[in-house]
């Protein structure tokens, strides 16, 4: 059944037990992002020290895809240099915009590869990217 392809176990696990959830201090910048078609929203904070993502904290409401992908995001970027975090972001965005034609690299995206099936549903791609857009925005504000 197609549904299982989209909702991989990994996604449902992250949805039920999100990592890094909650808003924490200290932080350097915060970003609020919303998906205007469905009303999903996320508020996400980053704490960057010496070019390294020390912490990402967030809260918000949304579907399993948006919640799980933000949870995966924290796993992928916390403790990483900003460059590397952005490289992962680019890989994730590419995967999501690939309409299911792109083979994800598990070394780079870890649990993020579970979203490969979501890329086949254009209306859900925005869900998967919501937290990442907030991350990108927050980091660029923290640098400003």
């Amino acid at each position: 059944m197609q549904l299982q392809q989209m909702y991989q176990e990994i996604i449902l696990d992250h949805y039920k037990n999100p990592h890094g959830r909650g808003l924490r201090a200290p932080f350097d910048a915060e970003s609020f992002q919303v998906n205007p078609t469905c009303g999903d929203e996320v508020t996400l904070r980053v704490h960057v020290v010496d070019g390294v993502v020390e912490d990402v904290s967030y809260e918000g409401q949304g579907c399993s895809i948006s919640q799980a992908s933000t949870s995966v995001l924290t796993d992928l970027v916390v403790g990483k240099p900003v460059d590397e975090a952005f490289a992962k972001m680019d890989a994730f965005v590419e995967l999501m915009q690939g309409r299911g034609q792109i083979e994800p690299d598990e070394d780079v995206l870890e649990d993020g590869i579970a979203f490969a099936g979501v890329a086949k549903y254009p209306a859900r791609v925005k869900c998967a990217l919501l937290g990442w857009m907030a991350f990108k925005d927050a980091v660029s504000r923290s640098a400003a």
Binding site: L12, C38, G39, D40, C63
Partner: protein, 425 residues
């Protein structure tokens, strides 16, 4: 609304709608429960447009050759039939691209009144004046008024919504007062299905001399509507929600009002005299139809109205009533499902929105989609309403003449499936 008319032969009707026999998601039969967003089109409408384009197409109101005559006749005949369908005179029907444009037309024209001379003064508004809407409006009947308020300095006020999804009219006499210039509200909520008490809002507005604007997007397609009988000043609806083409909508305006309302879009065909130094404008409805219009789309909408008339609006309403009853009771039987909007059938049309504990609407929609069931998820362009009711989003099933009780059963079963999939049942 009577429910005694002979029931629809839905199987026969469905044969007119080619898309309803397609399959989706690996061979699932399409169960289209998203007519509140846009309806499907019968072959009769597609054929009318095609015949026009293959035989009579020309620029209307502009040419003197035979095709131009035929095209103008077809276009104006469609206007007359549509006017008749909603109980108004043909020169009270203005074609717009959608209902959204219709509301913007009224809002901008009122904004233009300030610089349009004394004939338009009754439409002008400024600081101290008030615009009244409701919290259950579609963004199309909300944002244009916010913007008009921002441009003119007028104040926007609104009716709240009760937890049951009805308008809270308890403060009607303070909300609609001598400062009120316009009262804009929806006939039937696209989320809740609630049918609002037009008569009492119109009389409250008339007592203070305010104009009324009715958003009839979800009423005209679904039950008999007569704007003269309702007594509203302006009303709008869209063709694509009533078996007609996309790209066409209607603004109804009372004749005396259209006659003095300043123009909105300007350009060809809406003028009387043009000089470089200034222009004067044609009488309505032409004054409000600038440029080459939605020609074949008007013809298509005319055919849609013919189709609806033959089927019978009373019968359509009765049919949707039965579907809504089945959906409400089916969903009420599932624990963890909560209806957003009236749980009973009083003054209620066929949009059924709900939330499922533990399953986000987007995820529920995905499960339904995987079963071939097309519903809408999100805030349905009524974000403030969702906020007022304390839900970020909802799932909406909306019905039309071509839907069946089996499809309602499929919806109910699909909701249980979603609960199972997400482990909440």
């Amino acid at each position: 609304m009577t429910t005694t008319a002979a029931p629809l032969d839905v199987a026969a009707l469905r044969a007119d709608f080619p898309i309803l026999s397609r399959t989706v998601r690996d061979g699932k039969h399409l169960v289209y429960l998203d007519s509140g967003a846009t309806s499907q089109r019968p072959a009769q409408v597609l054929d009318a447009e095609r015949t026009f384009l293959e035989q009579h197409n020309a620029a209307v109101h502009r040419g003197a050759h035979q095709l131009a005559e035929e095209a103008t006749d077809a276009y104006e005949s469609a206007r007359a039939r549509i006017a008749d369908f909603i109980g108004v005179s043909f020169d009270e029907v203005v074609f717009t691209k959608n209902a959204t444009e219709g509301i913007n037309l009224v809002a901008y024209a009122m904004g233009n009144a300030a610089t349009f001379g004394p004939s338009a003064s009754r439409f002008a508004l400024g600081p101290g004046d008030e615009i009244v809407i409701t919290e259950m409006e579609h963004h199309a009947n909300l944002v244009p008024w916010q913007q008009l308020a921002q441009r003119t300095g007028a104040t926007l006020r609104w009716f709240g919504v009760t937890p049951e999804g009805r308008l809270d009219l308890s403060d009607v006499d303070t909300l609609i007062n001598s400062k009120t210039k316009v009262v804009a509200f929806t006939h039937q909520s696209n989320v809740l299905g609630t049918i609002n008490p037009v008569a009492s809002l119109v009389s409250a507005a008339q007592r203070v001399g305010a104009l009324t604007v009715l958003d009839a997007c979800q009423s005209v397609p679904h039950f008999p509507v007569d704007f003269h009988a309702l007594g509203v000043d302006f009303a709008v609806f869209s063709g694509h929600k009533m078996l007609g083409p996309s790209g066409i909508g209607v603004l109804y305006g009372r004749r005396e009002l259209l006659e003095t309302l300043p123009p909105f879009l300007t350009g060809g065909s809406m003028i009387e005299l043009v000089k470089m130094e200034g222009s004067t404008f044609a009488p309505p409805p032409q004054r409000f139809e600038a440029g080459v219009p939605m020609t074949s789309q008007a013809i298509g909408l005319g055919a849609a109205v013919d189709y609806l008339r033959v089927v019978g609006m009373e019968r359509i309403a009765a049919h949707e009533h039965a579907l809504t009853a089945a959906a409400l009771s089916g969903l009420a039987g599932i624990s963890g499902v909560r209806i957003i909007g009236p749980a009973d059938l009083v003054d209620r049309g066929g949009a059924v929105s709900f939330v499922i504990d533990g399953v986000h609407p987007h995820d529920a929609g995905q499960v339904l989609d995987s079963l071939g069931i097309a519903v809408r998820v999100g805030h349905h362009c009524a974000w403030p309403l969702h906020r007022a009711l304390g839900v970020p989003a909802s799932v909406r099933a909306s019905f039309y003449l071509y839907n069946t009780l089996d499809e309602v059963d499929a919806l109910v079963a699909g909701v249980r499936e979603a609960q199972k999939f997400f482990g909440v049942a």
